[in-house]
């Protein structure tokens, strides 16, 4: 089942896959062989082949998270050969292609590891902690009433660009997965700085950072120690500068907000 490229030689691979029945059971690595994998397949398509094999044999397929398979949604989340989203920089798991591997390779596939991201089953983890952080403050209030003019609030181009860079965060959790401390600060900082940079985000500026950091701590994420693994593994290249912005926002909010609690 080689792809459209006649020169693409199919590969045989050994997969070491984390299998875990549910949240409460202990998981373990299980070895599988997959055959005739086209180099043009995506990593997830390769797992689809594995799952079809497993289904044919009457075994339970491997659970893994995926949705758009276009690198936009942030659903896919595999720790491949000791790297978040695999060895290629700036790439989600779904955009990783099998041509990055060679015939005969052994590939280890694990779920994100963080206390705040409990494993649901096999490779699928519960990332609702991120949702709760967003609910704590990752929004802007929009007033009802007449539609304002599109250019009523001027935003300088370079500020808009920086806010957009931060906004490209897809919330996949690779930063948490790669961080030695399982810290969510790159994620939180992307959301905080995106909104802090824009005039629309000024209304909740102080309460936002206070509440989001409080929720982040409550969820049990670690504290950043400026290692930089997160930014190196981030599929969309969110930079560490955002964490500095988060720290600034947090410190100035704590020093000047009206919140005494």
């Amino acid at each position: 089942m080689a792809g459209s490229n006649p020169n693409a030689k199919p590969m045989n691979l050994t997969l070491k896959v984390w299998r875990q029945k549910n949240r409460t059971t202990q998981g373990q690595i299980v070895d599988y062989q997959v055959k005739d994998i086209s180099p043009e397949m995506s990593f997830l398509e390769m797992l689809d082949v594995l799952n079809e094999d497993l289904l044919r044999r009457g075994d339970e397929p491997v659970a893994f998270d995926h949705d758009c398979r276009e690198g936009i949604c942030g659903s896919c989340n595999l720790f491949i050969n000791g790297r978040a989203h695999g060895p290629e920089a700036g790439t989600t798991t779904c955009q990783l292609h099998m041509r990055k591997f060679s015939d005969g390779d052994t590939i280890t596939i694990e779920p994100w590891r963080a206390s705040a991201f409990p494993v649901n089953k096999d490779l699928s983890v519960d990332r609702s902690a991120f949702d709760r952080i967003i609910q704590a403050g990752g929004y802007v209030s929009v007033n009802t009433g007449g539609v304002p003019d599109g250019n009523e609030i001027p935003v300088p181009k370079d500020i808009a660009d920086r806010a957009f860079e931060a906004a490209t965060c897809i919330g996949c959790g690779a930063c948490v997965a790669a961080c030695k401390n399982a810290s969510a600060m790159l994620f939180v900082s992307a959301k905080v700085s995106q909104l802090a940079l824009l005039p629309q985000g000024k209304v909740e500026r102080k309460t936002r950072v206070e509440n989001m950091v409080a929720q982040m701590d409550k969820e049990g994420f670690g504290a950043c120690s400026n290692i930089g693994s997160c930014a190196a593994e981030c599929p969309v290249g969110i930079s560490l500068e955002n964490i500095a912005i988060l720290n600034r926002e947090f410190l100035s909010a704590k020093a000047t907000s009206n919140n005494l609690a």
Binding site: K16, W18, I29, F79, N81, G82, R83, P87, T108, E110, R113, A114, S115, A116, A178, K180, N181, A182, S183, M185, V213, A214, M216, D217, G220, F221, G222, A223, C224, S225, N226, I227, G228, S229, A232, E233, L240, E241, I243, A244, I245, L246, N247, R248, F250, L251, K254, N259, L260, A261
Partner: protein
């Protein structure tokens, strides 16, 4: 809990304490290194003993000494709290982890490097500080306590020189990460200044580590 204690017990608050105490300890290293350069003066240790007598008796220095103790205390305490929290946050580790492909070794091993420095610090304090302050040292020709002779004889022992040099290597790596990391934690990351901070951090780490390591090596090989 008041807003102040809440701020400094949050993850970012604890990092801020780490960074401020870290930078303060960096300033201590500068003073300590410059003062100790008098060990190289070829006067049988007279200048160094005058200096150590001043450092041990001046009321301002003795007061700042307690600030230094607090600086070390908070830096070490927060590192324990943060390390425990961070280990809990990871939970079950990875079967295969290639973190060496995405980050420098020293950045991931600040706790290990800090522990080496702490062990060194305890030995160092016992051998020099404790004996100078609470022990009986013979007077030199100016009737100052002769700390210089204690330094000179200590650094004639090979194991002692090895411990000191190894600890300075650990200190150097600790500073390579710690210096620039402190600025980042305080939010001082700017495309205009961060490259300079990084360069100064490297230069500072190398100079401090090499400066301190040169002292035991000088006494062992040239005295």
């Amino acid at each position: 809990m008041s807003w102040i204690s809440k701020t400094f017990s949050s993850s970012i608050g604890r990092k801020i304490i780490m960074s401020i105490t870290g930078l303060f300890l960096c300033s201590f290293l500068v003073v300590h290194l410059i003062g100790n350069l008098q060990l190289f003066k070829d006067d049988g240790g007279q200048a160094f003993n005058v200096y150590s007598h001043f450092m041990g008796t001046n009321p301002i220095i003795r007061t700042v000494e307690w600030v230094l103790v607090l600086g070390f205390g908070f830096h070490i305490y927060e590192s324990f709290v943060l390390t425990r929290r961070n280990k809990t946050a990871r939970g079950n580790g990875y079967v295969t982890d290639h973190a060496e492909q995405n980050s420098p070794w020293q950045s991931r091993n600040m706790g290990l490097l800090g522990t080496i420095i702490l062990i060194f610090l305890l030995v160092h304090l016992y051998n020099f500080f404790y004996r100078a302050r609470f022990g009986e040292l013979d007077p030199d020709i100016n009737n100052n306590d002769d700390l210089y002779t204690l330094v000179a004889t200590s650094f004639k022992q090979l194991w002692y020189v090895i411990l000191y040099v190894a600890a300075q290597v650990a200190l150097g790596y600790h500073l390579v990460h710690g210096f620039r990391s402190a600025f980042q934690t305080l939010g001082l990351n700017h495309r205009k200044y961060t490259p300079a901070i990084k360069f100064v951090g490297y230069a500072f780490s190398v100079l401090v580590a090499a400066g301190f390591a040169s002292m035991p090596l000088y006494f062992y090989f040239f005295k």
